[in-house]
C-alpha cells in the first residue's frame, strides 16, 4: 500500500499520520522491554537513568546487579528449580499431548468435541481458579509443596498447547503416506517413527516450546502449590517486586528477555522448516 504519485494532499497527510500512529503503537509495545535493559547495568540502586548513564560515562554503568544475581544462592536455586520443573512438565505434556493429538485427528474419534473441550480446559479456566482447586486437592493427597505436585500442575497447563499445535500440524498431513508405508510392509511402529514423527516434529517441538514457556513463566500455581523448596524464578521475582525491589530484578529480567528472543527465533525457524517440508511457499 505504497502512496500513489497522484495522491491528494489530504491522502498524503492521512498516509503519514497513520504511519506515525502505527510507529507510536509499536513503540508502546517494545519500549517497556527495551527500557529495562540499560537500567540493569545501572551503577546506582535506582530505577531511573542517572546523569552518568545519560552522558554515557562508563562510571554510570556496572555489572553489579548481574553479580548479585549469579552470586545469590536464592536466585541460583530458583534457576535450578525452574529448569527442573519446566523440563519435567514439558516432557510429560509433550508425550501425552502428542499421543492425544494423534488420536484426535483420526477420523473415527467418538465424542470429539467433548474430549477436545476437556483437554483444552486448562488453557481456558482462569489461573487463580486452577490454582485454588489444585491447592485444596494437592494438599489433601500430599502433593502440595512437592516438586511432583508442581510438575503435574504445570504439565496439565502445558498440554493444551501441545494438543493444539500438533493437531494443527496433522491437519495438513497426507494420510496416503502411512498407507504407502504399510503397503510396503512397514509395521505400525516403524511407520510412526520413520514416516509420521519426522513430519510432525516441527509441530511437536513448537508445542513443547509453548509448554516450556508456560511452565517457566508460571507464577500463580507456584504461589499456591509450591513450597519454599520449589521457589522458581518468577516466584523469586514476585517477592523481589513486592518486598525489596532492587535492580537485581532488572538483571534477571534482561536475562529472561534474552531467553525469550532465543525461543522466538527457534519457533520462527521451525515454522519455516515446516512450511518448506509441506511444500508451502511464502507468498
Amino acid at each position: 500500500m505504497a502512496l500513489p504519485p497522484y495522491a491528494s494532499p489530504l491522502e498524503r497527510t492521512w498516509y503519514y499520520s497513520y504511519r506515525i500512529l502505527c510507529g507510536l503503537i509499536f513503540f508502546f509495545l517494545i519500549a517497556p522491554i527495551l527500557v529495562i535493559i540499560p537500567l540493569s547495568f545501572n551503577a546506582q540502586p535506582y530505577f531511573t537513568y542517572t546523569r552518568e548513564m545519560l552522558t554515557l560515562n562508563p562510571e554510570g554503568y556496572s555489572l553489579r546487579w548481574y553479580r548479585d544475581f549469579f552470586g545469590s544462592t536464592a536466585w541460583i536455586s530458583s534457576i535450578r528449580n525452574s529448569l527442573i520443573i519446566a523440563l519435567a512438565s514439558t516432557f510429560l505434556a509433550t508425550v501425552l499431548g502428542t499421543l492425544a493429538a494423534l488420536g484426535l485427528s483420526r477420523s473415527h474419534m467418538p465424542f470429539r468435541g467433548l474430549i477436545m473441550g476437556l483437554l483444552i480446559s486448562p488453557m481456558i479456566v482462569p489461573l487463580i481458579i486452577s490454582a485454588a482447586g489444585m491447592f485444596f486437592f494437592y494438599s489433601s493427597i500430599g502433593l502440595a509443596q512437592t516438586f511432583l505436585g508442581v510438575i503435574l500442575a504445570h504439565a496439565a497447563l502445558g498440554t493444551p498447547f501441545v494438543v493444539i499445535t500438533v493437531t494443527a500440524t496433522l491437519v495438513g498431513f497426507d494420510h496416503s503416506l502411512t498407507r504407502a508405508a504399510a503397503s510396503l510392509g512397514a509395521p505400525p511402529q516403524t511407520t510412526f517413527f520413520k514416516v509420521v514423527l519426522p513430519l510432525i516434529t516441527p509441530g511437536v517441538i513448537s508445542g513443547a516450546l509453548f509448554a516450556f514457556i508456560t511452565s517457566f513463566d508460571e507464577i500463580v500455581i507456584v504461589l499456591f502449590v509450591a513450597g519454599v523448596e520449589q521457589r522458581t524464578i518468577p516466584r523469586e521475582m514476585w517477592s523481589g517486586i513486592r518486598e525489596q525491589i532492587s535492580p537485581t530484578i532488572l538483571a534477571v529480567a534482561t536475562v529472561l528477555v534474552a531467553i525469550s528472543i532465543a525461543l522466538l527465533t527457534t519457533l520462527e525457524l521451525l515454522r519455516r522448516r515446516n512450511e518448506r517440508m509441506r511444500g508451502i511457499r511464502p507468498s
Binding site: F26, V35, M116, I128, S130, I164, F224, W238
Partner: protein, 427 residues
C-alpha cells in the same frame, strides 16, 4: 450365517448376494470391525491424556466448586443440638432440651478440639460467634442444669432467638450462604434473603469494577491493535515479518518482566516521571501517581494483552483481498466509506475473536493487578486469592471462583462459536 454365505460362492458370492471378503466374512461386518478397531486405537491414544487432565485438573476444580456449597462443620460437630433443633419452630427461645444438647456438644467439642471449626464457620455469618462458642466450650464442663440459665449467664447471646435461628439454618449439610455473600445478599433476622447493608456491599462493586476495567482494556487493545494489524496485513511480507517481531517479542517475554518494566516506568521516581520533570512539564513535587492504582492496572494489562488482539485480527485481515477495497473505490466510494462499508464488516470475526479472548483473559487476571493495581486496581481474582490465603474463608473463595468460572465458560462458548477451538492460532 457367515458359513452359509461362504458356501454360496468362493469369490465374492453369487451375483446379487452380499459381498464377502477373501476369508468369507461379509464385507459389511468386516468393515464394521475395522472401523471399531480404529475407533478403539484412536480412543486408546487419547485416554492417557484424558485421565491425566481429569486427575490433575478437572477433579481438583470440581472439588473446589463443591466447597462453595459444602457445609459440614455444624452437622458433624453439633450433632445433638442440630437434631433437637429440628423440632423447634424458631419463634420463641428453644426449650431446655436444646440447651442441654448444646452443652453436651460443647463439652464433646472442647474435648476433641473440634468446636473451633464450628466457631469459625458461624463467625462468617455472625460476628462474635467465634468467642461465643470457644469461651462457652471452655467453661462447658462447669455448667449445671438448668442449662438454659447457665448458658445465658455465660453469654447473653445464647438468650437471643437469632443465634439459634442461625444455628438451625446452618445445621444442614449444604449451604447457600457463601453464594449469598458473593452476591452481596444476606439473611435477615427472620431468615429471608435481603440485600447486604450499603457499606458491606463489596463483591457486587468488585465484579462491576472487574467488568468495567476488562471492557476498558478490551476497547484499548482494539483501538491500538486494529491500526497495526491493518498495517501488518497490508505491508509486503518482508516488512511485515520484521514488524511482527515487535508484536511477538512482548508476547514471548515473561509476564513478570513486563510487569516489572511498567513499575519501573510508571513509579513516582521512575523513568516517565523523571522524563516529565526533566523537560519541565511537571514540577518535582507534582510527580504523577500512575502505578499502584487502577491507571497502572489498565496501562500494564493493555500492553500485556495487546498481542492477543493483534494476532487474531491480523490472521483475519490477511485473508481479505485488497481488490475489494479497490473495487469499492473504483465504483465511486470515498476512502472512508469504502473502508467502513467494505473492509470493516469483513474484519468482524477477527474483532470478535480478539475482543472475547482479551476479555476472557482480563476478567480472570491476577498477577499484574496484584503487583501494580494498589487498592483501586484490584480485580475479583485478587479477592479470591485474599480469601484463599489471608481470611481463609475458603467457601466464599470457592463461591466467587465459581461465579467467575461460569462467566468465563459462557464467554468461551461464544468464542468457540465465532472461531472454533481447532482454528485457534498460537504465535
Amino acid at each position: 450365517m457367515a458359513q452359509a454365505e461362504a458356501a454360496a460362492g468362493p469369490a465374492g458370492g453369487p451375483p446379487g448376494g452380499p459381498m464377502v471378503t477373501a476369508d468369507g466374512v461379509p464385507l459389511k461386518t468386516s468393515l464394521r470391525r475395522a472401523e471399531r478397531r480404529r475407533k478403539i486405537t484412536a480412543l486408546l491414544l487419547v485416554v492417557p491424556l484424558l485421565a491425566f487432565i481429569l486427575l490433575t485438573f478437572i477433579i481438583p476444580i470440581l472439588e473446589m466448586l463443591w466447597r462453595s456449597v459444602d457445609n459440614p462443620a455444624l452437622v458433624r460437630y453439633l450433632p445433638n443440638s442440630i437434631e433437637v433443633l429440628q423440632e423447634w419452630d424458631g419463634e420463641q427461645l428453644p426449650p431446655e432440651e436444646v440447651f442441654a444438647a448444646m452443652v453436651e456438644d460443647l463439652r464433646v467439642g472442647q474435648e476433641s478440639r473440634t468446636i473451633g471449626q464450628v466457631a469459625v464457620r458461624l463467625n462468617y455469618e455472625m460476628s462474635g460467634a467465634r468467642s461465643l462458642f470457644t469461651r462457652s466450650a471452655r467453661s462447658a464442663e462447669d455448667f449445671e442444669p438448668p442449662y438454659r440459665d447457665a448458658l445465658i449467664d455465660a453469654n447473653p447471646r445464647w438468650g437471643e432467638v437469632t443465634t439459634w435461628r442461625l444455628i438451625k439454618r446452618e445445621g444442614r449439610p449444604l449451604t447457600a450462604s457463601y453464594y449469598l455473600s458473593a452476591f452481596d445478599l444476606t439473611y435477615d433476622d427472620h431468615g429471608s434473603v435481603v440485600r447486604q447493608d450499603e457499606n458491606l456491599r463489596i463483591y457486587g462493586q468488585l465484579f462491576l469494577r472487574t467488568l468495567v476495567l476488562s471492557l476498558a482494556i478490551t476497547l484499548l487493545t482494539l483501538l491500538l491493535g486494529f491500526p497495526i494489524a491493518y498495517l501488518l496485513a497490508t505491508l509486503p511480507l518482508r516488512y511485515s515479518n520484521l514488524l511482527m517481531i515487535l508484536v511477538l517479542l512482548p508476547f514471548w517475554t515473561s509476564l513478570l518482566v513486563r510487569t516489572t518494566a511498567w513499575i519501573v516506568l510508571l513509579q513516582q521516581q521512575g523513568v516517565i516521571n523523571s522524563l516529565l520533570v526533566g523537560i519541565g512539564l511537571i514540577g518535582d513535587d507534582g510527580r504523577l501517581q500512575m502505578v499502584h492504582n487502577w491507571v497502572g492496572t489498565i496501562i500494564a494489562m493493555t500492553h500485556i494483552l495487546l498481542p492477543f488482539m493483534v494476532l487474531p485480527l491480523y490472521s483475519v485481515m490477511k485473508t481479505i483481498p485488497p481488490s475489494y477495497l479497490r473495487a469499492a473505490r473504483s465504483l465511486g466510494a470515498n476512502p472512508l466509506v469504502a473502508f467502513v462499508r467494505v473492509y470493516l464488516p469483513q474484519t468482524v470475526p477477527g474483532i470478535g475473536a480478539g475482543a472475547i479472548l482479551v476479555f476472557i483473559i482480563s476478567i480472570g487476571y491476577y498477577i499484574t493487578p496484584a503487583l501494580v493495581g494498589g487498592q483501586s486496581g484490584q480485580l475479583i481474582s485478587n479477592l479470591i486469592a485474599f480469601h484463599m490465603q489471608n481470611s481463609l474463608n475458603w467457601g466464599l473463595a470457592a463461591a466467587l471462583g465459581s461465579i467467575l468460572l461460569a462467566g468465563v465458560l459462557v464467554l468461551y462458548w461464544l468464542y468457540n462459536r465465532i472461531v472454533g477451538v481447532d482454528n485457534m492460532k498460537l504465535g
